[in-house]
Subunit: 523 residues, 2 copies
């Protein structure tokens, strides 16, 4: 067994002054793993936030290339983790080894993407308006603007991505890239995984000579509240349930100094299957869609939870095939007991609804999730029934048949904010339904064509965000390089002597970055 | 007298179904002006928000150049307002005619700056990551990102800038530029001014064929709450008191769908007067500083409310001179009775504090504001006394003398978030105190050198923002072209056929805008 201390990570050291011990579990058997994690005391939460605050002035002022080196060192440390690590993550989450390997590559790739962003320098968003001493009626002063990290960031890991959305995940990478030290609250579902990754981050911090306190990690139930309320914390990243995310938002808004919370929460990710596509390749679409719904046991934020089609013999056949295919899918082990119970509650609620019918799926029993297909009347959406608006996290989807295009428009209009919406259509379908795009843009963060939303590429152009309740702030993304913007704020210098300006704003442009100078983009 | 109807502006029409009538006042005499404004009913607030929502899909999808034409038409309409307009604003606010003329030019200039931003196209922040079909282990899809307006925006006008921060002010300009229709809540202090300006906006909307509902305006006390809580409203802009701004933030955060509030609230704008500058030009600095403190009767968000110096004979002499000069300043009429009462309360609180001494200033009496200078012990700041942390809106400033540079650092550290901080120093002063910059950057939105914060240039590089309580969200600015970003959110297209993409993202780049393509900035 790997050696895991189970102490909190505070200011580059380990701390375990508390007396509450926690355990994570083998996700398949349910047995407790032989590691004790010591819940952080209120004093330790305070110390972790203070350690991050102490690191902030130094860390944010490092040249961006130094922070890039840190991120790259984290990536290398993650890539170097051995088979014992993969085996442990698999045990804690029931996710297969290949998925863990892939997710680890995504996580280190994410760190490297942010390193590129730092080297590119456009995150500074540097702007210079030179003085105009002769301007009438008043001269213009010299004004220069760039962006700095907002301060220490609290990050809450997700249950479903123990690597890519956790300890060294996208929120941590974005915050560190922005120059914001992190206090990470380890998810109770994979605390041993978190320890492995935190060790990797601390090795990288030491290698690249980062300030102590650049990364801190605490364990425990309830410690998150104290963390979000801590005056040193200036922003929050969260991936999880609507209930959990909203609670953090409410706490953050009620602080003496309110702070922004970027919570990625609940999305049912509607997929619209258009008539001509159904005619040409209905069977193929059904197979792909089922694969997307059950992928990772349905435990993706972008799982297609709603399939919408227009009444036709083809859609009827497609629905029947989808049901048949889904009934052939095996039950799967979920990430943990909490996730399974939540899935069971969601399935029950659908079964109990008078206007929802189960088309395929076994009764939930034992400790595995049964794939499910339901069909709901369009009226359920049109009446604003909350049942279909919140995601059922797991391998389930709901089919809605609409009478015609007008009803389709109304149904889409009735949806809350989403991470994604998908159009499956032939060229003529898309042309005929192009007017839906204006509506979909208003509802979601990403519009897909002839694909499935479960793949979320990590790149510059990705948006993994969307209007509430998909996220708490539609102006951010938690995947892709734009995620850094959530943790930056602008600062302006007026008539500052060149020698005192940050490098990003000096006359000679020593960083060689793109800058908006007197209204023109320059390099 | 100009002809003013006093009805609410809803969806391009006028509406006055309510029975509560309101009056604005001659700010100098206190007498009610002969115009009746009809308070919006709850149904009218709802109708105004719905009108904005109805305009949103059309308005946000107009080519940016069309929105630029609209803003330019507003600018032209504002510039064309006649002497009767200037006389009326002067009557409602007691601001001198020259100030109104200047503020009007600022307001139309602001509209034209946003028009430039729209023509430049960088607000789209377009990003393209081309498909990589050969990539291993998985191909990359085609991903493209741009930004759209968030939806209808509620704007609350400021008392102190009846034009530049009001009906057609910076928040309105930024929201309209972003493609967000506006519902403007007219400030009770200058409702007639607001009507004049709203008429100008509607004429411009008609001229440029904008959708009805692109701009709406409502009158009334208490209507703001219903507006912020309205489900159609997606963001809020506000300039005013900490109490008022925080109340809006709390309402917005408690909505079923929380929305962002950009409130510019309270700042004491510390000015640090450094030793060598005092020696070389202490008298000159004292004169400039007094002029800045009393400018516009101290009714600027960036009024220097705190002057800090290091103990020395020169600082003692400077303090004495500042007091003498201030005592020579005449009393001035404030914007309205509410502002005067608030100033009186602030001055009283300072007078009552055991560690604060009045150095100059007459007892407040009558309906004019007496200029005041106080001196507070550094301990008042160091102990976190709230008295010195909140602005006293008016022609008053507080001097704090620190023992040495170490105490200066501690005093600065004790300050809450500010819009500005100013360093007055010779080259050798600035060099000797350059380590303060890291700290000041963390406290403020704008750092000035050898100037006074009361001038806020409207340009690309300006930041009129800062950490709480200066604003509710340090990531925004309410002056300058960056203000548009508060009202934009990113949307991503995955594998979208070129013909269906928005122009900003089409392969041929028909708008000719700067785009980040595969990690490189292109034109």
């Amino acid at each position: 067994m790997p050696d895991i201390l189970g102490h909190n990570y505070i200011g580059g050291a380990r701390s375990a002054t508390g007396s509450v011990t926690l355990h994570s579990h083998d996700a398949t058997t349910g047995e407790a793993l032989p590691y004790a994690f010591i819940q952080a005391t209120p004093e330790e939460v305070d110390a972790a936030a203070h350690a991050a605050a102490a690191a902030y002035p130094t860390f944010r002022n490092l040249p961006a290339t130094r922070r890039a080196e840190f991120l790259e060192a984290i990536a290398a440390q993650l890539d170097a983790l051995g088979a014992d690590f993969v085996a442990l993550v698999t045990r804690e989450t029931a996710l297969p080894g290949a998925r863990i390997q892939g997710e680890r590559a995504r996580t280190s790739g994410q760190m490297r993407l942010f390193a590129q962003v730092l080297r590119r320098g456009d995150f500074y968003a540097a702007r210079i308006d030179h003085a105009l001493p002769e301007r009438q009626p008043l001269p213009r002063v010299d004004l220069r603007q760039y962006r700095i990290g907002v301060g220490p960031v609290a990050v809450f890991g997700a249950s479903n991505f123990p690597l890519a959305f956790s300890t060294a995940g996208g929120d941590t990478a974005a915050a560190l890239a922005a120059g914001c030290p992190v206090v990470f609250k380890a998810h109770s579902g994979h605390m041993a995984t978190a320890a492995f990754v935190a060790d990797a981050i601390l090795r990288a911090a030491e290698q690249t000579d980062m300030p102590k306190g650049v990364f801190n990690m605490i364990y425990g139930a309830g410690v998150g509240e104290a963390l979000v309320k801590h005056p040193a914390i200036q922003a929050v990243g969260f991936t999880g349930s609507l209930k959990g995310g909203r609670a953090l938002c409410d706490m953050a808004a009620a602080r003496p100094q309110p702070i922004p919370v970027f919570a990625e929460m609940s999305s049912i990710n509607p997929v619209l299957v258009l008539p001509e596509a159904l005619r040409v390749r209905g069977e193929h679409i059904a197979r792909e869609l089922v694969a997307s719904v059950v992928q990772g046991c349905g435990q993706f934020c972008t799982n297609p939870g709603l399939v919408i089609g227009i009444h036709s013999p083809e859609f009827t056949a497609f629905t029947a095939l989808l049901a048949t295919l889904m009934s052939e899918q095996p039950a799967q082990t979920m990430l943990n007991v909490g996730t399974l119970r939540s899935y069971e509650r969601g399935v029950s609620a659908l079964l109990d609804h008078p206007h929802v019918t189960r088309l395929a799926g076994q009764t939930q029993h034992g400790n595995q999730a049964q794939p499910q297909v339901f069909k709901a009347a369009a009226s359920v959406l049109l009446k604003g029934d909350p049942l279909l608006q919140e995601e059922v996290f797991g391998p389930a989807t709901v089919i809605v048949e609409v009478a015609d295009k007008a009803e389709l428009q109304r149904v889409l209009n009735s949806l809350h904010g989403q991470l994604t919406a998908t159009l499956i259509g032939e060229a003529q379908d898309l042309q005929a339904h192009s007017d839906l795009l204006v509506l979909l843009e208003q509802k979601v963060g990403r519009v897909l064509f002839n694909g499935y939303p479960t793949g979320v590429e990590v790149c510059d152009a990705m948006v993994h965000g969307g209007p509430y309740p998909a996220t708490s702030d539609a102006r951010g993304t938690s995947v892709g390089s734009l995620a850094i913007e959530r943790f930056l704020r602008p600062v302006c210098y007026q008539n500052c002597p060149d020698a005192l300006l940050p490098d990003a704003l000096k006359n000679a442009n020593p960083l060689g970055i793109a800058r908006l100078v007197d209204g023109r983009m320059t390099h």
